[in-house]
């Protein structure tokens, strides 16, 4: 029996992880949407979804059921086969990209030695779904949306790729697991070694996932819904799922490469070990808030659901606290790495997504030519300079024996200076263009 388990383990564990991802991700995407709507409502002085479940907690499920039951419309003139396949491509590649990402040291489908390269490559395939979907719909809005999306993705993929190269130079490996391990060894997350690289990746990843202020492919006020215009019901839901999965993927890449993955803040410092209790404490606070709100719910069933959510949070707090409370050496204590790793990873992903949403509520939308200007004339050159800067820092550090701080400080300042110069030059060119435009 034991040998059988040992034999099956290399197959079983990834299989279980894969099933969990495919099964849970749609739900998670649904709740990210709910969270986004709630946050948006909060920033816009309103309440957001409140009807389905307490505080709209069951809204995503209701939405999913509605989308499943909707009539499936395929336009008469559409290219049916491609129309049918396109959303599948999008959602499949988005989920495939999750395969190489490590959510905590325990939860990973495959620790590929080309990890990040795989994620980037697979992620870029998602554009096929969008372009084919837009083209096969046989509608002007869809076509324009798809073309915009293709151009945008290609442009920003370049910048994002170069930003990642910067991080990879520091890590010296492509495997997601080893990247995080390197950050642990350094004792510092790469965001502090390469802040400019992180910034470039953050901007480019927003553009890659078609989120505001770069949501031109689906700019509602211009192109109705872009490439998704002709889609409805569950096919539309698949596109939606792909979009939110992509958000999770880019957030996971950023977390892995720049934010220290599953590492606790100050992971190597003993003095900060009390942070280990933070996860359970956070859960308890949320649970307390849930119980505080229970008597204020108008309907019995809502009270019950909210209380259940509170209990669930307490259970989670217990699970997260258990490894800290039992003596070291037992199986439960060993679970700390996996559980707390997953917690910190998901927390960082969540914060990254929060920034995404925050930007969406705050900024107007770029115009297409402005988007291209920003991509090609600012981010791409800057990302190349950033790579050179990090290379220089590594040379200074490894071969000339400079300390970390002076080496990376110097190159960051240099890169920022280049960024300032690029911005200034762009502004000047813009002004000249405007003057020429007036004469013409």
């Amino acid at each position: 029996m034991h040998t059988l388990i040992e034999f099956a383990k290399p197959i079983l564990v990834p299989l279980i992880c894969a099933v969990v991802i495919v099964a849970v991700l749609p739900l998670v995407a649904g709740y990210i949407v709910l969270l986004e709507r709630k946050l948006m409502a909060d920033m816009q002085a309103r309440l957001g979804p409140m009807r389905v479940g307490p505080h709209g907690l069951l809204q995503p499920i209701a939405d999913a059921v509605k989308l499943l039951l909707k009539e499936d419309i395929i336009p008469e003139e559409a290219d049916k086969a491609i129309f049918w396949v396109a959303p599948l491509i999008s959602v499949t590649v988005a989920m495939l990209a999750m395969a190489a990402l490590a959510i905590g040291p325990w939860f990973q489908i495959a620790d590929l030695n080309i990890g990040l390269l795989f994620v980037m490559g697979i992620g870029a395939l998602g554009i096929f779904g969008i372009v084919l979907g837009g083209w096969s719909s046989n509608s002007h809005y869809s076509l324009l949306g798809a073309l915009r999306s293709a151009a945008q993705l290609v442009s920003y993929e370049t910048a994002a790729g170069m930003a990642i190269v910067g991080g990879l130079l520091l890590a010296g490996t492509l495997s997601t697991r080893e990247i995080i391990q390197t950050q642990d060894d350094y004792g510092v997350w790469f965001i502090f070694a390469a802040p400019v690289g992180f910034f470039i990746y953050a901007v480019a990843s927003i553009a890659e996932t078609n989120r505001a202020p770069f949501d031109l492919p689906e700019a509602e006020s211009e192109l109705v819904a872009g490439y998704m215009t002709e889609y409805s019901g569950f096919r539309w839901a698949l596109y939606f799922l792909a979009e939110y999965t992509n958000m999770v993927v880019v957030a996971s890449i950023a977390t892995t490469l720049f934010l220290g993955g599953w590492l606790r803040p100050f992971a190597g410092t003993k003095a900060f070990d009390f942070l280990d209790y933070l996860p359970s404490l956070l859960m308890l606070v949320f649970a307390g808030y849930c119980f505080y709100r229970v008597p204020k719910q108008p309907v019995k069933i809502q009270q019950a659901v909210l209380a259940a959510v509170g209990l669930l949070l307490i259970l989670l707090a217990g699970i997260l606290a258990a490894p800290l409370l039992v003596p070291a050496g037992s199986l439960v204590a060993d679970a700390k790495a996996g559980l707390h790793g997953a917690f910190w990873f998901l927390l960082k992903v969540g914060l990254y997504l929060y920034v995404f949403m925050w930007l969406r509520f705050t900024f107007p939308r770029y115009r297409f030519d402005q988007l291209m200007h920003l991509g090609w004339q600012f981010l791409v050159p800057l990302s190349i300079v950033n790579v050179m800067g990090i290379g220089l820092a590594l040379v200074l550090h490894r071969q000339w024996g400079w300390g970390h701080l002076p080496a990376f400080g110097l190159t960051t300042v240099l890169t920022l200076a280049v960024a300032g110069w690029l911005a200034w030059a762009g502004e000047k060119k813009e002004k000249q263009r405007a003057i020429v435009g007036e004469e013409a």
């Binding site: 920033m43 107007p364 115009r367």
Partner: protein, 380 residues
């Protein structure tokens, strides 16, 4: 779809790459054409090389209806033209008929009319700002704007029971006396309002994306603006200091001090700045007016049955969107012989093709937004 009769741009100035141009029908069902405007766009890639606005989807024959209603009966109909600024419409009509009758409303009525109309200007501009920002992709200002607009609508509701199509004024004055808390409510709204405008400015005015999206877009020079007969914020943003409140004062505007904000470039950004400043000025007018509302009657001496002497009259007011004019011909009976309405939205919309040509699809919504059209008024 490709209609040969469309007076689009000539072939010579069309596509750069020699590729086929796309004809894109924007609307009548499109999220940001503000109602049922249909814009036929000729596109070279994303560049607009020609456009034509197709209007009339909301045509209700308001002018014709007027010929079969008595003067009082027609008053509620004008509220349905620019339904975002119903009070202003009513003011224009009532004053036009009063002019035809040769009377004038009592001073108290005129002052209250001024306050309500200026509040309406703020409400209309708020609604414009929210939707315009939404078109350009900023989601949040809309809700802040609607929050403040709600306060104004509440004042209307308290005053006359209706929020949107108010029919607040009567020919000869007002039907309702201002309610007890009226001044207090107006003051409560106006006092913190400039801080609220600052809030919108914080979100947009110096936002790089906003400036990039609006500056240099949809430029209308002063001469062009005059040639097109543009009015309101559209012409003022082009640098023409033309405001009927100052040029031909009506209601009680000659009693109050206010500035006419103007722009220089006549682009979308200037129109934004001008409208924001107008909101601040309207607030100042309201604050001046509530300080001293004169006592007296609110209804002038006009009969139950209105029979204006034969003749004709043109009366224009500065509606939130521009010059709103009523040209009324009377044949001495109880019903007007002809009512012709000059809607500012329609005249301003005529400049659309000039403003959009050479810009991108994304700018179409910015330009439609900046013209501040209401299709109920364009089509009547």
């Amino acid at each position: 779809m490709a209609d040969e009769r469309i007076p689009f741009a000539t072939r010579a100035e069309s596509t750069v790459l020699g590729a086929d141009e796309i004809i894109l029908n924007m609307g009548p069902q499109h999220p940001s054409t503000h109602g049922v405007l249909r814009v036929k766009l000729r596109l070279d890639g994303e560049k607009v090389i020609g456009s034509e606005c197709v209007i009339g989807y909301l045509h209700r024959g308001v002018e014709k209806i007027a010929e079969h209603r008595s003067y009082q009966q027609f008053a509620p109909y004008v509220d349905r033209m620019d339904y975002v600024a119903a009070v202003s419409n009513g003011l224009g009509y009532c004053e036009a008929v009063e002019k035809l009758l040769g009377t004038e409303a009592p001073l108290r009525a005129r002052v209250i009319r001024t306050i309500l109309t200026e509040l309406q200007r703020i409400a209309s501009h708020l609604f414009w700002l929210g939707t315009h920002a939404l078109d350009i992709g900023a989601l949040t200002p809309l809700f802040y704007c609607l929050r403040e607009r709600e306060e104004i609508l509440k004042i209307y509701e308290k005053y006359c029971g209706a929020r949107l199509t108010t029919h607040a004024f009567r020919i000869g004055g007002l039907q309702y006396e201002a309610y007890d808390e009226f001044e207090k409510d107006v003051e409560r709204f106006c006092t913190p309002f400039d801080k609220r405008v600052d809030e919108y400015e914080a979100l947009l005015t110096e936002n790089r994306i906003w400036v990039g999206r609006t500056r240099g877009i949809g430029v209308l020079t002063a001469k062009e603006a005059i040639d097109y007969g543009a009015s309101g914020p559209v012409i003022r943003a082009s640098g023409v200091k033309w405001d009927i409140r100052k040029a031909m004062p009506y209601a009680a505007y000659d009693l109050y001090k206010f500035e006419i904000p103007t722009g220089q470039n006549g682009d979308t950004y200037d129109r934004y700045i001008v409208r924001l400043e107008e909101m601040r000025q309207s607030r100042l007018i309201c604050l001046q007016a509530i300080e001293n509302i004169p006592a007296g009657p609110i209804m002038g001496k006009v009969g139950k049955v209105l029979k204006p002497p034969p003749g004709e009259v043109y009366h224009a007011i500065e509606a939130p969107k521009g010059e709103l004019g009523y040209y009324i011909v009377s044949d001495g009976t109880t019903q007007p012989y002809r009512v012709r309405i000059r809607p500012p939205s329609l005249i301003n919309l005529e400049a659309f093709d000039k403003m959009i040509r050479g810009h991108l699809v994304a700018d179409v919504v910015a330009v439609i937004g900046t013209l501040d059209i209401v299709l109920g008024e364009v089509d009547r």
